[in-house]
Amino acid sequence: MHIYANPARFLRLARPLTAWLGWSGGVLIALGLLGGLFLAPEDYLQGDSVRIMYVHVPAAWLGMGGWTGIAVASLMQLVWRHPLAATAARAVAVPGALFTALCLVTGSLWGRPTWGTYWEWDGRMTSMLVLLFLYIGYIALGDADRQRGGEGRITAIFGLVGAINIPIIKYSVEWWNTLHQGQSIGVGGSSIDNTMLWPLLLSALGFSLWFGSIVLMRMRAALARQKLEARLRRLAA
């Protein structure tokens, strides 16, 4: 990771990767969503509403994965003082918050025809809502710290402490009796039939690549702004 501590070296890799991740992600998303909408069968119990899974599950994974990325980058910033770690963590925050919000919105839209309600204060939904609030707090804290000229240590500590919510979300369906169904895909395998699994995996991979592309765009913008501010300071001196 320290190979890419040099922003110039990082940018040489990030420039072609931004477009490659974006376009390949877009193609995979299109294939996954079209497969989920028109080729995958309806569920024997939930009917057609199960097709919301192809946008809801990737959004949930990326919401949780985004905060895991923030926690790892925060650790790298605090322990190893990696110069790009703070930039990477901040670049993940907005797309992470967006996918968490999309998880909540699409989950509500799935819940109405399936459970008869848009919202229930159960463990999974409440812990996911807490994740959205954590993202909003992290973004606000990062902006305030940057405006004060801070090094982002408080924001990094917040990113690390907030990671406690990730295992709570994951195990919420086991720890509490919830409306939300249990885990269908794990390390050991999946209980989803292959006819429904392939569009989900394509969609999840596509959204993940797209997420990576957005993070790289935001990192490149942040690095360009830092370079601009440094030059303006040198010119003013």
Binding site: T106, L109, L228
Partner: protein, 43 residues
Amino acid sequence: MNHWPFIIAAYAATILATSGLTLWSWSAMRRAEREADALRQSK
């Protein structure tokens, strides 16, 4: 109950939100990189 209005709403929200964020991030990146390049060339 017809499920398709819920499905269409979920897909539309996802596509619109992710496309909007992509456009915003891309235009912010292009603007910042253009400004940084312009300042370097003006020196």
